[in-house]
Amino acid sequence: MTARMSPWNPERDDAELERRVLTTTVERMVAWARQGSVWPASFGLACCAIEMMCTAAARFDLARFGSELFRASPRQADLMIVSGRVSQKMAPVLRHIYDQMLEPKWVIAMGDCSSCGGVFNNYALVQGVDKIVPVDVYVAGCPPRPEALMHGFLMLREKIGATGGRR
């Protein structure tokens, strides 16, 4: 059975077209896809890494937001969660890992230590990871509860959607 072709009727067919077809830019579509599957690098530093593990584990289940796939290689990851204090010895390594990640990439500073130094204010630690890598979302807490980290993830999602996937 073939549909009968009728002549174009703008009053009727324009509305039908709007209802059935979504128009967007490629950029926005890509951003929409990106925000739903952010892959974090599996990069644990200190105490916060344990809470990061809990976030990915059964009770909190980060998989609901498409981010359960922690990649061992930074080259396969889009997101670095700096989970813990960054020492002067670790700083060059951290920057190296960040440089190895492919664009576009994002950084969550998880916890007080990576956000600003936290309770430690001394010779050994970098006072805030934003001195070495650009940070997109800061999550407060020492350590932040898994709920807080998930809130950080949701904020990052919003940001990726709003900026069209670019930084």
């Binding site: 002067q88 010895k89 130094g117 204010n121 001394n122 010779y123 050994a124 006072q127």
Partner: protein
């Protein structure tokens, strides 16, 4: 061996010319030996019959500006029967060199490296005395009292920035 007192008695017996200074505080026995004879004393303790002491901890104290400036602290533990003994040796600030005990306890390797890293005390006879915790190109020894804590003032809105460690100042000793 029964208790730390027996260890001290043994040291007195083995090394007759040793100048021992024994103190006890809260049930813990500390023996201060001259730095030059510390290795001998530790060897005598390790080889003493009746216990096999383990080097539980090796660390140092900076008493700056007092002299002799450094104290190297060895904490020995016998597992059965349970005995603890602390042995200390005092070192001057200018030539802070000790004999390494890695030959007696291989576990002293990293502990001595840590003391070197943090205090700048050198251990003679150590198989590879390099920095362990700090980066290799680090300057200074962080746990020395004349090494600053290197704090950044913390800004709170509406207040002048504060250096955290000065909020409660150090009080003079009491009692």
């Amino acid at each position: 061996m029964s208790g730390a007192g027996a260890c001290v008695a043994l040291l007195r017996e083995r090394l007759r010319d040793l100048d021992l200074d024994v103190t006890e505080f809260r049930g813990e026995v500390t023996v201060i030996v001259p730095a030059a004879q510390a290795f001998e004393a530790l060897r005598a303790l390790r080889d003493a019959p009746g216990w096999t002491p383990v080097l539980t901890d090796l660390t140092a104290i900076d008493r700056f500006p007092a002299e002799p400036r450094f104290e190297v602290v060895y904490l020995l533990t016998g597992y059965s029967p349970p005995v603890r003994l602390r042995v200390k040796a005092r070192l001057p600030g200018e030539v802070a060199v000790m004999a390494s005990v890695t030959g007696l306890w291989p576990g002293a390797n990293w502990l001595e490296r840590e003391v070197y890293d943090m205090f700048g005390i050198r251990f003679e006879g150590h198989p590879g005395l390099t920095r362990i915790l700090m980066p290799d190109d680090w300057e200074g020894h962080p746990l020395r009292k004349d090494f600053p804590l290197t704090e950044e003032p913390v800004q709170f809105s509406g207040h002048t920035p504060k250096v955290p460690s000065t909020i409660i100042p150090k009080s003079p000793p009491r009692r």
